[in-house]
C-alpha cells in the first residue's frame, strides 16, 4: 500500500511540471510582468522581453557579449552614439571582460586596438590600479594593458577569486579589499556564492562586507545598513540573488555542462524555475519571499478546506445512510431537501445570510466552516444514499434482518463499508468545488487566506503569485487523488491487488 501511494505521489513531478509550463505560457501573454523588488523596472522588462519563453538557442555569456561590444566599437566611427554605448557596456562588464578582451587586443588593427583599450579606462579606475591615468592616454594605453595582463593574468582564475572573496569576508582588512577590488566583476560569481541568509547577528558582519563589495563592483547601491533586523538583511540578500539571476550571463564564462544548462536557464521559464526552487518562489513587492506568504495564507485556506470537507462528510454520510434505510419515507425527503437547498443557495448566498444574522457572534472561521460544510453536503449525501440502496435490497441484508439484526447493525456492518468506497473517490473531485467555496467564504468573512491574495494578484498582474498558486493547486490535486485512491483501496480490499498491479498492467 505504501509502495502504491508512493508511486502515485511520483505523479507530482510531471503534473507540477505540466501545470507550471501551461500556466507560464498563459501568463506570458500578460502585457507587462511586474518587476521584482528594487530592480530597475524598465531595464528588467527589456531584458526579460528579449529572452525567449522556454528555450534559448544561442545562450550568451561574457565571451559573446564582449565580442559583440568590441565589434560595435570597431564598426562605429569614433564619437558616434554606438561607440559610446559600446564603451559604456564594456566598462560595465568590467573585470570579467579582461580575460577575454586583453589577450585578443593584439589581433585588432592599431587604431581599433587603441580605441578598445581606451574604453577599458573606467575599469582601471574602479580597480584602483597604480598609474591609472596612463589608461586614458592614447600613446600609452595599449602597452599599459599588455603589461597589466602580463603581470596579473595569474590572478584571474576561479581559485584565486574564490579565496580572495573568502578572505575579505572573513578579515575585511584594507589589503584584502584591494585584492578583491583588483578582480572587479570577475569576482561576482564568487561573491554571490558567499551570500547566505543570516541566521544570527554575528553573521551580519561578513555579509555586510560581501554586499558592500557587490555594491562597489556593480554600482548598484543596495547595502545592509547599520542596526537592521535579520529579516531586512535577508531581504537584501534576496535582492542580490535575484539581480544575479538576471545579469549573470554578463559575467560568467560558459563551459561544458554550464553551456548545456544555459539553453534552458537563459529562457524566461528557466529563470522562473531557478527563482522558484532556489529563491523561495521569488520576492513580492514588499521584498518578502512569495513562498513564506503562500504558506502563511495556506494555513487559513487549508484549515477552512479540511474542516469544511470533514464536517460535510461527517454529517452527509450518516444522513445519506439513514435516508437510504428509510427510503421513501418522510425522513428521506426531508433529508434530501435539507442538503439540496443549501447546495442551490451556494456559498455566496449562504455566506451573505450568515454574515447578516450570525457573524457578530463568535469566530468568523467557525461560521465559514459551517457554511462551507452546508454547501458541500449534497454530493456525499446523494452518493452514500445511492451506494447503500442496492446493498440494502440484497438477500444477505434481508437474511440478516430476518435473523433479528437491528437497523444499526445492518447499516454499520453490511452497509457502510460498501457505501463509503465510492463516496471516498468523490473526495478528489469535490475538491475544486470546495476550493471555490473557500475563496468565496474568505471574501465574505474577511479571512486572510489564499483567495483574497489571488484576487489582488489578478488585479495587479502579479505573475509570481499566480504561478505559486497554480503550483499549489496541482500539488493539492495530486495529494487529493492519492488520498482518495488509498482510502478506496483501504475500504475495498478486493481492489487492492488490482491497484497494486495497475502500474505494470501494460508493461
Amino acid at each position: 500500500m505504501f509502495r502504491f501511494a508512493f508511486r502515485r505521489l511520483l505523479w507530482l513531478v510531471p503534473s507540477v511540471l505540466g501545470v507550471s509550463l501551461l500556466a507560464f505560457l498563459v501568463l506570458s501573454l500578460l502585457p507587462e510582468p511586474a518587476a521584482p523588488a528594487r530592480l530597475d523596472a524598465e531595464q528588467w522588462r527589456r531584458r526579460l522581453a528579449a529572452s525567449p519563453l522556454f528555450f534559448e538557442v544561442s545562450p550568451a555569456d561574457v565571451r559573446s557579449r564582449v565580442a559583440a561590444e568590441v565589434q560595435r566599437i570597431v564598426a562605429a566611427p569614433a564619437g558616434s552614439p554606438d561607440d559610446t554605448t559600446g564603451q559604456e557596456e564594456l566598462a560595465r562588464l568590467g573585470g570579467a571582460a579582461l580575460p577575454v578582451v586583453l589577450p585578443e587586443l593584439d589581433a585588432l588593427g592599431p587604431s581599433d586596438r587603441t580605441r578598445v583599450a581606451l574604453a577599458l579606462a573606467p575599469i582601471a579606475e574602479r580597480m584602483g590600479l597604480p598609474n591609472a591615468e596612463l589608461a586614458t592616454q592614447p600613446q600609452h594605453v595599449v602597452v599599459y594593458w599588455n603589461r597589466f595582463w602580463g603581470a596579473r593574468a595569474v590572478e584571474f582564475s576561479p581559485a584565486t577569486a574564490r579565496s580572495a572573496v573568502r578572505r575579505y569576508a572573513r578579515y575585511g582588512t584594507e589589503a584584502r579589499a584591494a585584492q578583491l577590488r583588483l578582480l572587479d566583476t570577475f569576482a561576482l560569481p564568487y561573491l554571490i556564492e558567499a551570500l547566505h541568509l543570516p541566521r544570527e547577528t554575528a553573521d551580519l558582519t561578513e555579509l555586510r562586507r560581501v554586499v558592500g563589495a557587490l555594491s562597489a563592483v556593480t554600482g548598484r547601491d543596495d547595502r545592509i545598513r547599520a542596526h537592521v533586523s535579520l529579516g531586512e538583511a535577508g531581504a537584501v540578500v534576496y535582492h542580490w540573488q535575484r539581480w544575479w539571476l538576471v545579469y549573470q550571463d554578463d559575467y560568467v564564462r560558459l563551459t561544458g555542462s554550464g553551456r548545456v544548462a544555459a539553453f534552458v536557464m537563459q529562457s524566461r521559464y528557466g529563470k522562473w524555475v531557478y527563482e522558484t526552487v532556489v529563491l523561495r518562489m521569488g520576492l513580492d513587492e514588499q521584498g518578502r519571499p512569495v513562498l513564506d506568504d503562500l504558506l502563511a495564507r495556506c494555513r487559513v485556506t487549508l484549515t477552512l478546506l479540511a474542516l469544511g470537507l470533514a464536517l460535510a462528510y461527517l454529517v452527509a454520510v450518516p444522513l445519506g445512510a439513514s435516508a437510504a434505510y428509510l427510503r421513501g419515507r418522510v425522513f428521506d425527503r426531508l433529508a434530501a431537501t435539507a442538503v439540496i437547498v443549501p447546495y442551490a443557495a451556494s456559498p455566496m448566498l449562504l455566506g451573505a445570510l450568515v454574515l447578516h444574522w450570525g457573524a457578530p457572534i463568535g469566530q468568523p472561521m467557525v461560521w465559514a466552516v459551517v457554511t462551507l460544510a452546508l454547501a458541500l453536503a449534497a454530493d456525499p449525501m446523494r452518493q452514500s444514499r445511492a451506494a447503500l440502496l442496492p446493498v440494502l435490497t440484497t438477500e444477505y441484508v434481508r437474511a440478516s434482518r430476518a435473523r433479528g439484526a437491528g437497523p444499526m447493525h445492518v447499516l454499520l456492518v453490511h452497509g457502510l463499508r460498501n457505501a463509503l468506497a465510492p463516496v471516498a473517490t468523490r473526495m478528489a473531485t469535490e475538491m475544486p468545488v470546495a476550493i471555490t467555496g473557500c475563496f468565496v467564504l474568505e471574501q465574505i468573512f474577511g479571512l486572510r487566506g489564499v483567495g483574497s491574495a489571488t484576487l489582488d494578484a489578478v488585479a495587479r498582474h502579479d505573475t509570481r503569485w499566480l504561478m505559486a498558486v497554480a503550483l499549489g493547486g496541482s500539488v493539492l490535486a495530486v495529494v487529493a487523488l492519492v488520498t482518495s485512491d488509498v482510502a478506496y483501496a483501504t475500504l475495498d480490499p478486493r481492489l487492492r491487488s488490482s491497484l497494486l498491479r495497475s502500474g505494470r498492467r501494460r508493461a
Binding site: 421513501g328 473531485t429 476550493i435 471555490t436 468565496v440
Partner: protein, 324 residues
Amino acid sequence: MSRRVGVGDRMARSTRVRIALVMLAAIVLPAIFAELIAADAPIFAAGPHGVYVLPAVVKPASYHGLDRAGIEALHDEDFAVWPVIRCGPSSTCPEGAHLLGADGRGRDLVARVVYGGRSAIGLAVLALAFATVVGVCLGAVAGYLGGFWDEVLARPIEVVQAFPAIVVVAVVRAAFPDQNAAWSLVLAVAAVRWAEVARLVRAEVIQATAEPWVLAARAIGCGHWRVMRRHILPQAMRPVVVSTMFGVASVVLLETAVSFLGLGVDGSWGAMLAEGLGPASAAATVAGGLALGGTVLAVYFIADAFEEALDARVATTSRELQLW
C-alpha cells in the same frame, strides 16, 4: 427510438420534473428573449425615420449615453411597441418604471435577473459544449487505442479533474485582462470541465470495446471509425449526457462564484449577490440568490430524474428507490 420515448415518458410522469421544467423555462426563455422583456429601446418602431425591429440589438450605438427622456424624444413621432420593463439592466430608471423594485442605484431588478440569466446559461452551455467535444475526443482516443495513449492521457485527465477550477479562472482572467471577459471565462471553464467528460467516456469505451458486438463488428470488416461511431459512442454517451446535465448546475454555480469575486462579467448574478455584502441593499442579493437557486434546483431535478429514467430497472421495479 423506443428507448428515448420511454425515458421521456418516465420523466414526465413525475410532478417535480414538470415543476422544474416550468422553472427552467421561466429563466431560460426570458434570458434568450431578454430584449423583448426589458430594454431601453422599443421592440418595434415605425415612423418618419424608418422602420426598426429591435433597435437595441440592431443599432445599439444610437442609444448609447441617452437617458430616458432622450430615448423617448428619439421615438417621439414613431409608432413604437415598448417592452414590459422600459429599462435596461445597467441603466438607472425612474421610480414608477419598475416591476418588482430596484436595487440601490435605481436599476431594475427583473431586468438584471433576466440579463444575468443570459450570461449564466449562455456561458454554461458554451463551456459545456466545448468541454464535451474535447472530452469525448480525448476520452475515446484513450479508451479505444489503449496502451501508450491511455497512459499519456489517463493521468492528466485525473489531475485536471482534481485541479481547482477557480485557480484556472484566475490565471486566465489575469492573462486576458482587457479582452472579452465572457469568452475567457468560457475557455477557463471548458479547460477544467473536459476532464470529467473524458474520464466517463474513457471508462465506457474501455468497457464497450470488450463487448461481443464490437468484436463482431470488427470481424465483419467494419473500420475503426465506423465501430467507434455506430457501436461504441452511442453506448458511451449516456453517462456523458447525465454528467453534462448536472454540469449545467455546477458551471452556473462556478460562474456566479467567479463574478461574485469580481473576476467575471458585469451583469452576472454573482455581481448582484456581491452587492448585498455592502450596506447598500439586500434586494439585489435576494433577487440574484433566488434566480441562482431556482436555476440550480431546476437543473438538478431534471438531471436527477433523467439519470433515474435512463436506468430502466430502478425506475420500473421499485418506485420507492427514487430520492424524490
